[in-house]
Amino acid sequence: MVWLTGGCVAAAVLMIIGLLAFIASHGFATFWPDPLEQVTVRDGTTTRVVLGEPTRHDVYTYTDQVPLSISVEADSVVSVDENKGVQTVRYEIPRTLYKTGNFDLTGEDFRWVEERNVIDRAKPQWGMVVERTAWGNAYGTLEAVTVDGKTTTGPDAAWAKFNEVYGPMRDLGDEVRDIEKDEMGEISRELDDMRLELAGVGHEHGQESAEYKEKALELASRQKELEAEIVTLRGKVADLRARMATATITVRASTGDIIPADRTKPEEPLLVAQVVRTYPANQLSLVDKMGVYLSRWWEFLTDEPREANTEGGVFPAIIGTVLLTFVMVIFVVPIGVVAALYLREYAKQGPLVSFVRISVNNLAGVPSIVYGVFGLGFFCYIIGRYLDRGPDEPMAVAQWGGFALATVAVIGLGAGLTVFFNIFTRESERGAVGAGLKVVLFLVWLSSAAMILGLLWTTPFFDGFFAARSAEGSPTLGKSAMIWASLTLALLTLPLVIVATEEALAAVPRSVREGSYACGASKWQTIRRIVLPRAMPGVMTGMILAIARGAGEVAPIMLVGAVKLAPELPISASPSELFGVNRSFMHLGFHIFDLAFQSRNSMAALPMAYTTTFLLIVIVVLLNIAAITIRSRLRKAYAGGAF
């Protein structure tokens, strides 16, 4: 039995370690610069040259029937049919997959090369790997670099020249990106805001009203200013682009073409500013390789994605994942702890509480996509929409007033009964209130809560915070957003926190509670000063479980906020932008899904998918380690350390 049980544990551990090792090895290998190989391959009657990074070797087998007249190696013959004069031959063909890049020239990223067709194999000294801002990697041999019309030929001199101009040219490229993304983005946002502001006035007063015209006039002057600014910026960008165009790098691909700056003009060489990173792969020393490797990691961790996410970094996704998890924790821990407190400390243990407890446990087993659908329907389309544009069907003012009076009356009844029977005084803690009265009070308070919700839902005095934007088809909160995704995940992980907290509360010994009561502490004082501190490590355990579950969830957030490419980070310092909580966000888990299944060439994106997976695991582990550290500090504090 020891062997059986131990064996099961060993198998489970091996599987987990194997998975982690697999992901880590692939994740770490992605950014290592491989050498370039140039192979000359027989292709029918002609030959073709393939230049690329060998990525995979395997053996391709197939069987074929050939006439007996053709002599083949004896051990590859499977069977011989004398009557028909044919033999069945099994061919085993070793082959290599080369990453050839140059998608804009050849329309493919990878190419299989069968070993039997290889005529020649070489490692060209000046074979270059060129990472570009568009169209993925390019592979070719360095020929020349032209700066301001002066061409430096010969790879050694050209490489030196390239390194000289590369820095300034990249800076120009960054400047263009900053202008286009930040400055022009801001102006277009402001223009958009103005359009919506005007539309809002139009909604309120009508398009023919004096207010509308006044507003339109007021905004028109500002609009002119902004448009003039855009023209200036465009001029600046054109200027920068012209300067960028003065430096080009001529790299000749194995097909004989040069790598073009623009696919439609094949004779114009690549601009230096279009190069993200380039290196002569076969000349790199170990230190150089390490440099390339680290610079790629740095880019991956700190930069934004390029090329439909298959290149560049995942910085926005890291931020999105961490923020999402943090906001989720902020929501789920207090709610979970308070719910557990009620269930364990206040509620009378009985069939009803058991039923609630079982239901909470079962919630943990609901498929996460169901939470996603619920979050989209409830948070985005009901709560968000309500906040955006107010009630869909507001009551008439008089009717609503009556409803409000009725609500006040019910609340008054509840408050009156409560005060009259001293419900919240200490005496009532022990059976002074009859069960019937409790039920009545519960119903009264429940219905007043429902009535308040009803009042809010039908109020004619609330038109939403962002009605105009919403009416123009750009909702502010009534759409998928970071805050709704966090709330959805909080809902998803709530059972974990409740169950862990409840267990921790139940583990606080009765004698300690009684000690507190005997000192004259009230129930709440006992809970706050004695029970909760004792249960805190258990609460942290629940939080750790919630983080581990929430950070890795993809299915629900796909529906409520995660996007392939978010224009902005889901955080902002400005209250007028709601601190960015209403923005869509990028998420590592969704990024993995996107890379592996949604990209143009999933084979090319696969290494990135591994690396992203590895990174997600690392982030989840880091978040957990942080929580575990806090928990062990708490435990130590109660086990004899200093306060």
Binding site: K348, S511, R529
Partner: protein, 315 residues
């Protein structure tokens, strides 16, 4: 209340007399009893008949000032199972009163009823009343919290709170809203000196109370219980989880507390009761059987049940 009206008799029965009294099979008449034992009534027979048992309460108690008085108090678990049967007794001021009796006789239940800790258990019902210095303990408009603040309690198993030694001691002041450092420090020092723990912990008041040894923890709990100057100190078998050395320290402490504090202590250990208490109440089957000065009760009990118990024939 049923009080014995017979005069005091301090004659100590010999071992022979004791055993002959215990061996008497027939309910003996008063004249045939040994000199110390007044009444040969058995609680068992009253239980069988279902009539209330009149407790034997010695005259010495009449002259004492009462701190806690229990009047015709009964307690039911699960609303029907009667655990305490019409108990009436007075706890004298400034004295140590021990509650003894076999397991399950209700002595802990009685102790926990004094500060209404049994309220926390579902399905407990009480009749009768208790008074703390004349104020009713069981009445509709009693503030239980305020009531408990007037008493201190020490439990069977030491239960320090998960906080520093200092915060443990001043807990009852803190929850009362006392935040003046000087007041708290004064109370802490006084209580820790009162519980003979001051010299051992005065240099590490801010370290966790959970790092103390078992005996120290129990003395810390005593310090906590006396910090708010309680009118009565309730002790529920305070030494049952301690080794002999720690036990003797606690017993010394209880002896020192005598006079300043009114102590009601439940104990399983009759030697302990004999050592530390001024008065002893013997309980059996949920009834108060006999209540009197410790020396009398242990040497010259009035009832045969008491004698059987203290000589170890049952329980």
């Amino acid at each position: 209340m049923s009080m014995s009206t017979s005069p005091r008799n301090m004659v100590i029965p010999s071992a022979h007399e004791l055993s002959s009294a215990a061996n008497a099979k027939q309910p003996a008449t008063e004249s045939s009893l040994p000199p110390g034992v007044r009444r040969d009534v058995s609680v068992q027979s009253f239980v069988k008949e279902g009539t209330p048992f009149p407790a034997e309460i010695h005259d010495e108690l009449k002259t004492e000032t009462t701190v806690v008085s229990v009047e015709d108090f009964s307690l039911y678990y699960n609303l029907t199972a009667k655990a305490l049967h019409n108990i009436s007794l007075n706890i004298p001021h400034g004295k140590v009163t021990a509650l003894i009796g076999p397991s399950g006789c209700g002595k802990s239940t009685l102790l926990r009823s004094v500060n209404r800790l049994n309220d926390l258990i579902d399905g407990v019902k009480m009749t009768g009343n208790m008074y703390l210095n004349g104020d009713p303990i069981y009445a509709k408009n009693v503030d239980v919290i305020e009531l408990r603040k007037r008493m201190g309690m020490v439990f069977q198993k030491s239960n320090p709170f998960p906080m520093s030694i200092f915060e443990n001691v001043v807990f009852s002041l803190r929850i009362d809203g006392e935040n003046r450092r000087s007041v708290l420090e004064e109370a802490c020092e006084r209580s820790l000196k009162g519980s003979a723990l001051w010299n051992e912990v005065k240099d590490r008041l801010s370290s966790s109370a959970l790092g103390l040894s078992g005996g120290q923890q129990q003395r810390l709990c005593i310090a906590r219980a006396i910090a708010a100057e309680p009118e009565v100190l309730l002790m529920d078998e305070p030494c049952s989880a301690l080794d002999p050395i720690a036990t003797s320290k606690i017993e010394d402490l209880i002896t020192q507390l005598r006079g300043n504090y009114t102590v009601l202590i439940v104990t399983h250990n009759m030697q302990q009761a004999a050592r530390v208490s001024d008065y002893t109440a013997f309980m059996y089957l949920g009834r108060l059987v006999e209540y009197g000065p410790t020396s009398t009760l242990f040497t010259n009990p009035h009832l045969k049940d008491t004698e059987d118990y203290i000589t170890g024939r049952f329980g």
